[in-house]
């Protein structure tokens, strides 16, 4: 959806067109789900949070001045809603990544994980599990960059981090995941 279409859609929603709001929800629900599902690990609360985000967006839509994309604006609401939720749940928000540990301790589970691989079906599941254990900010940045194809500037505007920090976090998160993968698999196992 281009900027002009987004503007028209927002104007229709503000005029009270319920079909336009349905379209709005359908357009942005994947983006909201990506953010919420990555930031919040409690399964039962995820959909409620997604619903709350759209209700908040509906109530505050008149304040949207088209200074950014609608997707960036709604992603910011989603991000802030999740941060508030996590703060209430006392989830640590400012942790850093664990060291990229490929020592014997971290490799001890290789055989189990090799067996686990059959159950987990593929590397994607392993990566998903590793991401779920990362600090919130790293998870969010990975998601916004890879799933929602946002730029560093857009991610910075959503998370309130400078562009350089976004780039640095993204690099470190991917290097961390690569280290986890290479610790578990031989390179040829990863050639698919």
């Amino acid at each position: 959806m281009n900027d002009n279409d987004s503007r028209q859609l927002v104007e229709k929603v503000l005029a009270g067109n319920s079909r336009a709001f349905q379209t709005f929800v359908n357009e942005y629900k994947n983006l909201v789900a990506h953010i919420v599902y990555r930031m919040v690990n409690i399964l039962e609360d995820r959909e409620d949070l997604c619903q709350d985000i759209f209700v908040k967006a509906y109530q505050n839509l008149f304040q949207f001045k088209f200074e950014s994309k609608v997707s960036t604006w709604i992603a910011r609401i989603a991000y802030n809603t999740c941060i508030n939720y996590l703060e209430k749940k006392k989830v640590p928000l400012y942790d850093d990544l664990a060291p990229e540990d490929t020592s014997l301790d971290s490799l001890a589970g290789i055989n189990e994980l090799q067996d686990d691989l059959y159950e987990a079906e593929n590397i994607n599941n392993i990566v998903r599990k590793e991401i779920a254990e990362m600090p919130v900010k790293f998870r969010t940045i990975l998601t916004l960059y890879h799933l929602d194809e946002m730029t560093y500037a857009e991610i910075g505007s959503i998370t309130g981090l400078p562009e350089g920090t976004v780039k640095n976090y993204l690099f470190r998160a991917r290097r961390f995941l690569k280290a986890k993968l290479t610790a578990r698999y031989q390179p040829e196992e990863l050639y698919q």
């Binding site: 503000l14 319920s18 997604c50 619903q51 209700v55 590397i123």
Partner: protein, 173 residues
């Protein structure tokens, strides 16, 4: 290692100057170690782009619509409650005013209203002046003034604080 992890990520993100990108690509064909490192990252990127597990319930949109409409009803309810409070304050002000007004003289003056002059409007108008003249407003005056100030404050709150929250028009079908 000629290329750091940062450079490999920049290459895969297409975030490299054109000449460096070309050079990297050439070396990728001739350097099996670099190729292997890039392959690992490619596999990781593929996993990061996987959208599995993010699916919402098929009824999600209709649930959001319902929730938004309930919030609207909440807003309406809030406004009615608001009107109720305003009316309550207004009635309380009237009652308090009457409590402090010297109503005895008022009742005395009303005795002028006999069946004989009930139909005489000019006479009533003539008496009205003396009726109002006998009321002691000194004690009662601050109360309705306070009531009016409260109403103005409520009105301003409604206009500038409560109303904007629900500025989007109600859904129409």
């Amino acid at each position: 290692m000629k290329y750091s992890d940062q450079k490999i990520q920049d290459f895969l993100d297409n975030n490299m100057p054109a000449d460096l990108y070309r050079q990297f690509k050439e070396e990728l064909h001739s350097d099996p170690v670099l190729k292997s490192r890039v392959q690992v990252y490619k596999q990781l990127y593929s996993a990061l782009n996987d959208r599995k597990g993010f699916e919402l319930d098929p009824k999600f949109t209709s649930r959001v619509m319902k929730k938004a409409q309930i919030e609207e009803l909440g807003a309406l309810h809030f406004k009615l409650w608001h009107i109720f409070i305003a009316m309550f304050i207004f009635i309380a002000c009237i009652n308090l005013s009457l409590y402090y007004v010297d109503t005895k003289t008022l009742v005395e003056d009303l005795k002028f209203s006999t069946p004989a002059n009930d139909n005489s409007i000019p006479a009533l108008i003539k008496n009205l002046n003396s009726l109002l003249g006998n009321i002691d407003f000194n004690l009662a005056l601050p109360i309705p003034v306070a009531g009016i100030i409260i109403l103005i404050i409520l009105g301003l709150l409604d206009r500038f604080i409560f109303y904007p929250r629900y500025k989007a028009a109600s859904f129409y079908r």
